[in-house]
């Protein structure tokens, strides 16, 4: 029983970082209809900057994290301005391919910055554990859960309540018409990349709390958000949260129990579990759990 609870808690911890990463994808998708393959690089840069500010510059951890978020937001906005802006009005998949180019460039930057090092972000939690309701859980998992959901909450509220939130969605639906309503599409694009960048940076920090530290290649972990956004529904922040947690827990339970109870599924089966869940759900709900169906009428 303890094992089960521990596994679920770990799952919620990691799942909430998936949700955070997913929100980054969703925000850019909601504003631009583009799936941003550069997100992993933004995430690893977030880990790098946190480490730089917290361990090398010796700033207090929360300050370091905020600075890292600002830095990566700036990187995101810059990428948008330089690489994505010229793609306004072009088919989303051509723009998605551009983000692949951006990813390659940023990833090399990350490799250059991180080099041959294993980074630690200097988080205050380390390997410490706390007992909650009689079960010993890692503080890191609680931190992941609380920080991710708080950040998502803030962003979600902003998008739902503000004029810019509506303008973002309008931009994604039809850029020309959005322009005609006076929406500064370029600014919206930049803004969405900046927010996504900040979210990715935060996620990078949380991923960086791994006890072994992170390397440049750890960037690819961000791809775990792909099944999450689809499962939740591409344009749904709420969906990202539920799907992130669901997948985190499913993955964690698989890690705990599959080697013992279903060894025939092979090693590291947890890697494919998110995709299996996603595929099954898509068969029943083609737009994920909370996605908006595309309106079609003739």
């Amino acid at each position: 029983m303890d094992e089960l609870i521990a596994s679920v808690v770990r799952g919620l911890g990691i799942g909430s970082t998936y949700a955070l990463l997913a929100v980054g994808f969703v925000i850019i998708y909601r504003a631009t209809k583009v799936i941003n393959f550069a997100q992993p690089a933004l995430m690893i840069l977030g880990g790098y900057f946190t480490s730089l500010f917290a361990t090398r510059a010796g700033l207090p951890f929360p300050v370091a994290v905020l600075l890292a978020m600002v830095a990566v937001a700036a990187v995101g906005a810059l990428c948008e301005r330089v690489a994505l802006r010229p793609m306004v009005g072009e088919p989303p998949f051509a723009a998605a391919m551009v983000t692949v180019g951006v990813f390659i460039v940023l990833l090399i930057v990350a490799f250059r910055l991180i080099g041959t090092q294993v980074l630690t972000v200097g988080d205050p939690w380390g390997l410490s554990r706390t007992t909650v309701l009689g079960v010993s859980v890692a503080q890191v998992d609680i931190a992941k859960f609380v920080i991710s959901l708080a950040a998502i909450g803030v962003v979600g509220l902003f998008l739902a309540r503000s004029r810019l939130g509506l303008a973002m969605r309008a931009t994604a639906l039809d850029q020309e018409v959005a322009l005609a309503q006076g929406v500064d599409v370029g600014r919206i694009f930049g803004l969405s990349w900046a927010i996504a960048g900040a979210m990715a940076a935060l996620a990078g920090m949380l991923i960086g709390t791994a006890s072994g530290g992170i390397e440049a290649t750890t960037a690819l972990v961000a791809l775990k958000a792909l099944p999450v956004i689809i499962l939740g529904g591409l344009d749904s922040i709420k969906g990202s949260v539920y799907a992130g947690l669901l997948i985190g827990v499913a993955e964690s339970l698989t890690r705990t129990y599959q080697p013992e109870y279903a060894p025939f599924l092979g090693a590291n089966f947890d890697v494919v579990v998110p995709y299996v869940i996603m595929i099954v759900v898509l068969m029943i709900r083609p737009y994920g759990l909370f996605g908006t169906p595309e309106v079609q009428r003739v």
Partner: protein, 404 residues
């Protein structure tokens, strides 16, 4: 002797930026993982170490009237067999041999070509297959033990100096690395009458996200020794995570499980308490001619990790082969290939002198160095025992590749 017969990859013109402007130039290729591949963190220092090695060779006058250049034909192949084979074909007409070909699958992808081109090379991996003609047609000139022997020597040492393990678990990446190491573990347990608690196949964090699954299995296994063949971050996570959950067994880590930066991670205390590193040769501060030369090449700077040392030492067999070929007055590829079988390699004390080719069971290197994490040491490791051999490793019947 300037009158040796020459072929592709050997030029009478000096190397670019030659140390000895009067010498001709021998071009060696490097196919490595230099930007975004999974081993870039290790491969970049490896390549640096090799460059330093050959720089020293040139500064000492070169080989047979030739300087050796390895930078001109260095290519980044990102640990991808396709890139590896394309890059090989690109540089092949210009090189005499390969100073480095990193990885097993990647090297396998070019072995056929190497065979028909008579190109020999030094590996950047310790796969057991390179010890056997069946796998490499005698083309790959390896240095030191294989992962398969590594784990056996490590366990021999452990049972003699710490405590005889009753149950050993292998955790690693499947295939040429962890698979090889696990095969050694299994062989050792059956020879020593211990329990083989199984092989936990894991993968880099970039793929699996975290080592939670491995940690879970370590905790469940009941093993008192765990042999690791993973990457550095994964090592720290497994050791730290297992310890935090109350695991009290010990960890033996393969050479590439270490990175000096691990001592800054939250797992550092656990590593210092529970982790032992097994390596084929000593770390930076050792007292051998080779290590002295390495330190000299570095000056005041420290390399990012041990890769620099690997790269350096992996270069000796190629140097020996070149010298032998010059001796035979045949500095062609065929000539070079002809001298490899039975070639005596002197590692300037870093490793015992080794004979390449012949019967692997006889010639293979079965010694290791045992290191412990040490914040005081330059690269975070200091040796607790050198030239370690053990009964099980010594008597292991080495007849074929352990994995693959």
């Amino acid at each position: 002797s300037d009158d040796a017969e020459t072929g592709p990859g050997v030029s009478d013109d000096p190397c670019p930026d030659a140390v000895n402007a009067d010498n001709g130039c021998i071009y060696l290729g490097v196919l490595s993982d230099l930007t975004e591949g999974p081993f870039a963190a290790l491969a970049v220092p490896i390549t640096d170490g090799q460059e330093a090695f050959w720089q020293r060779v040139n500064e000492e006058g070169g080989i047979g009237g030739y300087d050796v250049d390895i930078t001109e034909f260095t290519r980044d192949t990102r640990y991808d067999p396709q890139e590896h084979s394309a890059a090989y074909r690109e540089i092949e007409p210009e090189i005499l041999a390969l100073a480095q070909t990193l990885g097993t699958e990647t090297t396998e992808a070019i072995l056929g070509d190497m065979d028909s081109d008579d190109v020999i090379g030094a590996p950047a991996s310790w796969w057991s297959g390179w010890n056997f003609e069946d796998n490499d047609n005698g083309l790959i000139l390896e240095s030191g033990y294989s992962y398969c022997l590594e784990s056996q020597i490590g366990l021999d040492w452990f049972s003699e100096n710490v405590a005889p393990p009753t149950s050993v678990l292998a955790v690693g990446y499947p295939g040429d690395y962890g698979g090889d190491s696990a095969a050694g573990v299994e062989a050792w347990t059956s020879a020593a009458g211990a329990e083989f608690a199984g092989f936990v196949e894991t993968a880099p964090n970039a793929t699996v996200g975290s080592q939670d699954a491995a940690i879970g299995q370590v905790l469940q296994s009941g093993a008192d020794v765990v042999v690791l063949a993973v990457g550095p971050a994964e090592t720290a996570e497994i050791v730290g995570g297992s310890a935090a959950n109350g695991f009290t067994g010990q960890f033996l880590g393969s050479v590439p499980t270490w990175n000096p930066a691990l001592l800054d991670t939250p797992a550092a205390p656990a590593l210092q308490a529970l982790y032992t590193n097994v390596a084929p040769w000593e770390d930076l501060d050792a007292d051998t001619e080779a290590h002295a030369a390495i330190r000299e090449s570095l000056g005041d700077e420290l390399p990012a990790n041990q890769g620099y040392i690997y790269g350096w030492i992996w270069s000796y067999p190629i140097r020996a082969a070149l010298e032998a070929a010059v001796e035979e007055d045949d500095l062609t590829r065929e000539g070079l290939r002809a001298v490899t079988d039975g070639l005596e390699v002197d590692f300037e004390g870093a490793l015992p002198a080794t004979t390449l080719g012949g019967d692997p069971n006889e010639n293979v290197n079965r010694t290791a160095v045992i290191n412990k994490p040490d914040p005081e040491a330059p690269l975070g490791l200091s040796s607790v025992a050198t030239e370690v051999t053990g009964p099980s490793a010594d008597s292991y019947e080495y007849a074929a590749a352990c994995s693959g």
